[in-house]
């Protein structure tokens, strides 16, 4: 099955591919790692091809996740490029953007190349390393943005931290514009967030945990919207979680500014009341923190109206050593890759908020476009890379982290019943994952 088969015809599935305007039963012919033909043309050219009957399933362009912490180099106890990309494959994700908060930080071409080489050798899906905006992610000096861009880096971010210095951010945007760099901002005003560990509100007051106001996210988003306008640079807001910051992005987009934004599945699936139901459970600790119910509803609204471009996981593996401690001391972050599509289908599609095409747009087409990969990824049009997944949209399953491909187990979704199951994942024409069999590559 995982041997590269020269030509494969996938038939019977509902192809959901908004980039081509297709949503219906449609065959796809895969040849030499690319999409050779679609629809009637695919059937016409299919003689001699192996046939994959995908009756009852959805056929989606492989998911593109802009926000993944692979932890390698430096924190291989939590995740490696090998394990993280296996988790991606199990989640239907065929391209990940690797965040630069590794040890050492991905702030030079040498480290970016190291990650690429590792990914080529051991990775199961495509890995696009991002690079830090500032050296060592220290927020003080710019990285060699031009060199990094020339080496193919598309996304620049100090993720894990926001860039607090407004002047430095301004210069990064101005300078990076020469190279078409996309600046992904982790919006967190450190003075406002200070030592907060959960959303500031009735739940934090009740639990006696230090509050983190959503203004910490919104104030930096507002500042960067202003800087995007002033510089013409491209700002992408990472993991937005609060109603205020979404309103800022909405306004910025209405003005025609060069800004885009993502949220993470936990921000439309959960609110900070989760911590009252699971007091001090560190799987409810992430950066930014889960918001109020009003924030959660604002995230869904922003998904519907296009304020949010993408869903990205902020997949943040941590070992039990980092999580099985006092809430204040626990690491921020949760796993995302193996639950993201199912959460999107369960909460957003089965919940009646958006249709399947919107999910593909949020999780594949739009992120591919932001990476400059339009036509190659995020679609199964003729000539595109044969990165795809087959999904049973109705199959119910119960989240069990013991079955994850990831090295880590830190998820708040344990025991949750979700509808929507990835059945198979293909990367560059090779099947890499099959439900029940696991990783094939």
């Amino acid at each position: 099955m995982n041997e590269p088969v020269e030509r494969q015809l996938i038939t019977g599935a509902r192809l959901v591919d908004p980039a081509q305007g297709i949503d219906g039963e449609c065959a796809v012919l895969v040849e030499e790692g690319r999409i050779a033909a679609v629809g009637a043309e695919a059937l016409k050219q299919a003689s001699g091809a192996a046939v994959v009957d995908a009756q009852g399933l959805w056929l989606l362009p492989g998911l593109v996740d802009l926000h993944v912490h692979l932890r390698e180099p430096g924190q291989e106890g939590k995740e490696t490029i090998a394990s993280g990309t296996r988790a991606a494959a199990a989640g239907g994700v065929t391209t990940v953007v690797a965040m630069p908060n590794t040890v050492p930080a991905m702030d030079s071409v040498a480290i970016v190349e190291l990650v690429r080489a590792k990914a080529r050798a051991e990775g199961v899906v495509h890995v696009l390393p991002s690079a830090a905006i500032t050296k060592g992610r220290q927020g003080a000096e710019l990285t060699e943005i031009g060199e990094l861009a020339r080496a193919g880096v598309k996304v620049f971010t100090d993720d894990g931290d926001g860039v607090m210095n407004a002047e430095l951010m301004r210069r990064a945007l101005e300078y990076g514009a020469m190279f078409g760099a996309l600046f992904m901002q982790h919006c967190e005003d450190k003075n406002l967030a200070h030592d907060g560990v959960m959303n500031e509100g009735p739940a934090s007051l009740r639990l006696g945990l230090r509050g983190w106001p959503k203004a910490a996210e919104a104030s930096m988003a507002a500042r960067d919207a202003v800087l995007a306008e002033a510089t013409g640079g491209r700002v992408h807001f990472a993991h937005l979680s609060g109603a205020q910051s979404l309103e800022i992005v909405r306004t910025a987009k209405a003005k025609g500014l060069n800004v885009t934004a993502e949220t993470a599945p936990h921000f439309f699936a959960l609110n900070d009341g989760w911590l009252l139901e699971h007091p001090y459970d560190t799987h409810g600790k992430m950066n930014p923190p889960l918001g109020s119910e009003a924030d959660r509803l604002a995230v869904i609204r922003a998904i519907q109206d296009g304020t949010l471009d993408c869903i990205a996981t902020d997949h943040a593996p941590h070992s039990s050593l980092d999580k099985n401690v006092e809430f204040d001391k626990a690491a921020f972050g949760i796993l995302g890759l193996e639950t993201s599509l199912a959460l999107a289908l369960e909460v957003l599609v089965h919940g009646g908020h958006v249709d399947a095409a919107k999910i593909v747009s949020l999780m594949s087409a739009r992120p591919a476009e932001l990476l400059g990969l339009k036509g190659r990824k995020g679609t199964l049009a003729k000539g595109a890379d044969a990165d795809l997944c087959l999904v049973d949209p109705d199959e119910a399953w119960v989240v069990d982290p013991e079955k994850f491909q990831s090295k880590s187990r830190n998820t708040p979704f344990t025991g949750m019943r979700l509808r929507g199951r990835v059945k198979r994942t293909m990367v560059s024409g090779r099947w890499v994952y099959e439900d029940g069999r696991g990783i094939l590559a």
Binding site: H194, G201, P202, L205, R206, L207, G208, L209, R210, P279, Y280, L321, N324, V325, E326, F327, D328, K329
Partner: protein, 315 residues
């Protein structure tokens, strides 16, 4: 014998009115022990009690230590500097080590909310929360309730003001839960930064009010609990200066005059004289600050006994 039907005392939020009454009644019985020449009962004989304090504490640590000793327990006091937690061991591993030495009760004070609950979920020993960050300090609230009940004969119907840094205070949280459960009305008072209106979200529909004017808050109250102001709050811009704080919120005899003439003055200690309370009030006829400390031992004896005591050895 009567026992608490719970393994741990982590907060007052989850403790019922009946359980609070049981503890206060038992404390009444133990109060008498302090008056004996030999202040000992065998109720915890053969049991091991460990006091694990990660924050400096004089009165609470001593109070728990005496309480356990008067119940004839084997008591070990651990201050953070002595413990291996400083050497990188996790809290849960430290507690597992204690458990291997047949621990009965672990009394814990930490600066991290929820740490007592986390330990409780991972050990068979009884955990008594002696203060976890900004969350709760249940035995302090119990001794406050005990002190009020001894003076008024009841809690029901009393109106009690809690003044100061309500936001960061575990004492305030536990006091409010306890007072409400026993039928008191509560007034919270402090500047908007230390006593935000949002805190009312903890007790929806309950008789709790927020005041920013001390005079209004004190008018006609039966008792006032003055909270300690911590100097580190200044660094977080929560108020401009200690001078301004004391001008607005210090409890002075003049301000106390608007309360009922029988109004009791409480303070969980340690006091900043001249900052949140004047010496005149702290040492004045309405102050029960010393009684709070003595009552603390009896209340903590009651808690330890009701959680872990031997059958029929209370006398």
């Amino acid at each position: 014998m009567k026992r608490l039907s719970r393994k741990d005392l982590l907060d007052l939020e989850s403790v019922s009115e009946a359980e609070i009454r049981l503890i206060l009644d038992q404390a009444e019985a133990f109060r008498e022990v302090a008056l004996r020449p030999v202040k000992k009962v065998p109720a915890l004989r053969g049991k091991t009690v460990i006091n694990l304090f990660f924050e400096p504490s004089t009165r609470t640590a001593t109070s728990f230590q005496l309480a356990a000793q008067r119940l004839s327990a084997d008591v070990v006091d651990i201050k953070v500097a002595d413990s291996s937690v400083k050497k990188g061991e996790t809290l849960l591993d430290t507690v597992a080590t204690f458990e291997a030495m047949d621990l009965s009760v672990l009394i814990m004070r930490t600066s991290h909310a929820g740490s007592a609950a986390m330990v409780a979920a991972n050990t068979k020993a009884s955990i008594v929360n002696a203060g976890d960050g900004m969350h709760e300090h249940p035995t302090q609230a119990l001794l406050d309730l005990f002190t009020l009940r001894r003076h008024f004969g009841r809690i029901d119907g009393l109106e009690v003001a809690v003044v100061g840094d309500v936001l960061h205070s575990r004492v305030a949280r536990s006091d409010v839960w306890g007072l409400l459960k026993l039928g008191a009305k509560v007034r919270l008072c402090g500047p908007t930064t230390l006593c935000p209106r949002d805190i009312l979200g903890l007790w929806p529909g309950a008789p709790v009010k927020v005041f920013h004017d001390l005079r209004e808050a004190l008018e006609g109250v039966d008792a006032v609990q003055v909270l300690r102001i911590q100097m580190e709050r200044l660094q977080r811009h929560l108020f401009p200066s200690t001078r301004e704080y004391s001008r607005l919120y210090a409890l002075t005899s003049e301000r106390l005059a608007v309360a009922k003439p029988t109004c009791l003055v409480m303070h969980p200690g340690p006091m900043n004289r001249g900052l949140e309370i004047s010496s005149g009030v702290a040492d004045g006829p309405q102050s029960v600050i010393g009684e709070q400390v003595s009552n603390g031992v009896a209340v903590r004896m009651a808690v330890l006994y009701l959680l872990a005591g031997n059958e029929a050895e209370a006398a």
